[in-house]
Amino acid sequence: MSGPSFLDRFRKGLERTRDILNADVMDLARGQRPLEPKDLDAVEEALIAADLGMPAVQEAMDVLRRRSGQIWTEGPEAMRAVLKEEIRKSLAAAPEARSFATRPWVVFVVGVNGVGKTTTIAKLAQTWKAEGRTTLLCAADTFRAAAAEQLEIWARRTGSPFHRGAEGADPSAVLTDGLRAARSRGYDAVLVDTAGRLHTKGNLMNELAKMARVAGREVPGAPHETLLVLDATVGSNGLVQGREFARAAGVTGLVLAKLDGTAKGGVAVAVVRELGVPIRYVGVGEALGDLLPFDAEAFAEGLLG
């Protein structure tokens, strides 16, 4: 890939978040005065504004208060370092995932409506193609009007094989056929596009569990990964989404979509802390190349500059 470096693009994605944190918090540095309680309020607001979620914010504030002695004497730089360390610690706790250990490597892409599942799949297919892998795009979203058409267009653009069923067909049936096709043709991977569903709909969440069972029957160990796509602009509800999807579908990784400069993405920190699964990818723009592997170091750096 040409253009700006990986780290630059990451930083750009988190620009907005960093701006908020910097403007409100780090300006204190310039005054060269001891910190006051109201400065801590400003930090709290900045963290809230980054959508870190109230529990995580309160925990971070506790840490800051506990170490306030050090921060008081060493100033805002110390505060920034403490926060960065906290965030990095939260993000690094999750285990590494391995990919493509078997063939076909089956990946479910799940999430609530409108988070960017289909686009994420297109980007993943593009990335894997560049690595020399053939990925079948399986349109198991048989609910939303024209969802399969949308995926088909992406399959054409990325030069990937494509499988679909009729609109309104049973997604598990479509999935079965897709997996059989992938197996017999020896594809490297299958990306399964599932219908967007609110995590509050019990029957739809059960459907997801059923699809996972069906996949396991066709391909041993499938789904090998279940990626939950989170909208980077989502608020505290992102945490609830993570919890519920993990319960129903066994989420193994997160994709933080739409992290393109205005969004904060702080909720991802809260979700990783809660679920203990890693963020795998970050979507930083609308183009096919705008999907980056996640890097905790870079994320914490980008968040707090």
Partner: protein, 447 residues
């Protein structure tokens, strides 16, 4: 999960009992709780600040300080202020223009639910006796126009789909011509979204606006959005000018603080709400309900309305008479089941009860619904005599009914047992006896 705000406020004020009247520092403590509740509900922190200022000036007024139930008084102030910010209690409607057709531009970020909302608004207009024409000018997202067309077909809505045109303004012009020629009163325009506010999109929307002279520019906002809700709504307001907000995905469990944020920074009222996946699940926005939700007070109002909507008053009175005379039959029981089912899914109904939103997801509501369906089937397989007097149900009758309803004898037995118990209970109710009073004493205090 979250304790509801009212519980927290009760706790704040409970510690004050005996002090006599409230002081300003008591109010401060209450405001801190409100602040946290609002932040937890994803209301933008600047909006929270602004809002609390408004509340404080009223909450330190005499009506609260002297109130015997300060927690309730504070909540009332909060509620009133919030309702006003969200657009007040007036019935929401679409503005129309003097010259037909009235154009409604649907705008918003990617994935907020523009296309679905466009179809839903279309259905809502049709239900009101109008004939809207729908058109998508989203030439960006793959298959976006296809999606609107398919949605329209499924919901018997007219969708203008000039496949050969691929420029937003040309598509809109063609739709306006079509609408004038056919005489559609409304044209609903689904526009392209973006990941975030960018110049290209804003220019396109401005062009469409100039061309269409819309009577409404609706900003479609995802109820689950966090702090970013303010920024994008503000941008759309500044650069395109919006007249109202459509709040989507309210069927989830997001507290929906985004609604308050967006309404506050744009000054535009929230006009409609998307409350489900079906095209019909769309309604004029009700500020009071949203306030209950943001504050974690439940949607008691919605529940009451739903009950009133579905329960036939005369039928209910007749049933009450029979219960009093202990004449409850399986026919009545069946009617009750049907009414519960008419109110919507158990899940949705439970979700409206304060404190039950969380519980609703842990109760197996689908099993409950299957059970209700099974019971209706069993009763439907009975003769009128059996329904009136279930005591005649001997073994062979039970077998016949089980076969007829596709259930098992155990299922039939279970229903009959349940019914007999219910009838016994009703007798005690009907006697106006102690049981009724005991139950009433246990009901949570309702305001």
């Amino acid at each position: 999960m979250f304790d509801s705000l009212s519980d927290k406020l009760q706790a704040v004020f409970r510690t004050l009992r005996g002090h006599g009247s409230l002081t300003e520092s008591d109010v401060d403590a209450a405001l801190r709780e409100i602040r946290l509740a609002l932040l937890e509900a994803d209301v933008h922190f600047k909006v929270v600040k602004q809002f609390l200022e408004r509340v404080r000036s009223r909450a330190t007024g005499q009506e609260v300080l002297k109130s015997l139930t300060p927690a309730q008084a504070v909540i009332r102030v909060v509620r009133d202020e919030m309702v006003e910010l969200l657009g007040g209690t007036d019935a929401k409607r679409l503005e129309t223009s003097a010259r037909l057709p009235s154009v409604v531009l649907m705008t918003g970020l990617q994935g907020s639910g523009k296309t679905t909302s466009t179809a839903k608004l279309g259905r809502w207009l049709v239900k009101g006796g109008h004939h809207p024409l729908l058109v998508s000018t989203d030439v960006n997202r793959p298959a976006a126009r296809e999606q609107l067309r398919t949605l329209g077909e499924k919901s018997a809505l007219k969708v203008h789909h000039p496949a050969r045109l691929d420029e937003p303004r040309a598509i809109l012009r063609s739709a306006l011509e079509e609408a004038r020629a056919v005489g559609h009163e409304f044209v609903l325009v689904d526009t392209a979204g973006r990941l975030h506010v960018d110049d290209e999109l804003m220019a396109e929307l401005q062009d469409l606006k100039t061309l269409a002279q819309p009577s409404e520019v609706l900003y479609v906002a995802d109820a689950m959005t966090g702090q970013d809700a303010v920024r994008s709504a503000e941008e759309f307001q500044k650069r395109v000018g919006i007249t109202g907000i459509v709040l989507t995905k309210l069927d989830g469990d997001a507290r929906g603080g985004a609604a308050l944020s967006a309404a506050t920074v744009t000054g535009a009222p929230v006009k409609f709400a998307g409350v489900g996946e079906k095209v019909e699940e769309f309604e004029p926005f009700q500020a009071e309900r949203m306030v209950g939700r943001i504050l974690g007070l439940g949607d008691v109002l919605g529940l009451i309305e739903k009950v009133e909507e579905t329960v036939d008053r005369e039928q209910a009175e007749e049933m009450a008479r029979r219960i009093r005379r202990s004449e409850l039959t399986l026919e009545d029981y069946r009617q009750q089941l049907a009414q519960v089912r008419k109110m919507g899914s158990l899940e949705a109904v439970l979700g409206m009860i304060p404190g039950m939103g969380q519980a609703a997801r842990h109760v197996d509501t689908e099993a409950g619904e299957r059970e209700m369906k099974r019971e209706v089937a069993i009763i439907d397989s009975m003769t009128p005599l059996e329904r009136r007097e279930p005591s005649v149900m001997n073994g062979s009758r039970r077998k016949r009914v089980a076969r007829g309803s596709g259930t098992s004898v155990e299922d039939v037995n279970r229903l009959l047992r349940k019914f007999m118990q219910a009838r016994k209970l009703m007798k005690q109710f009907g006697g106006g006896g102690k049981l009724m009073k005991r139950l009433a004493g246990r009901m949570p205090q309702m305001r």
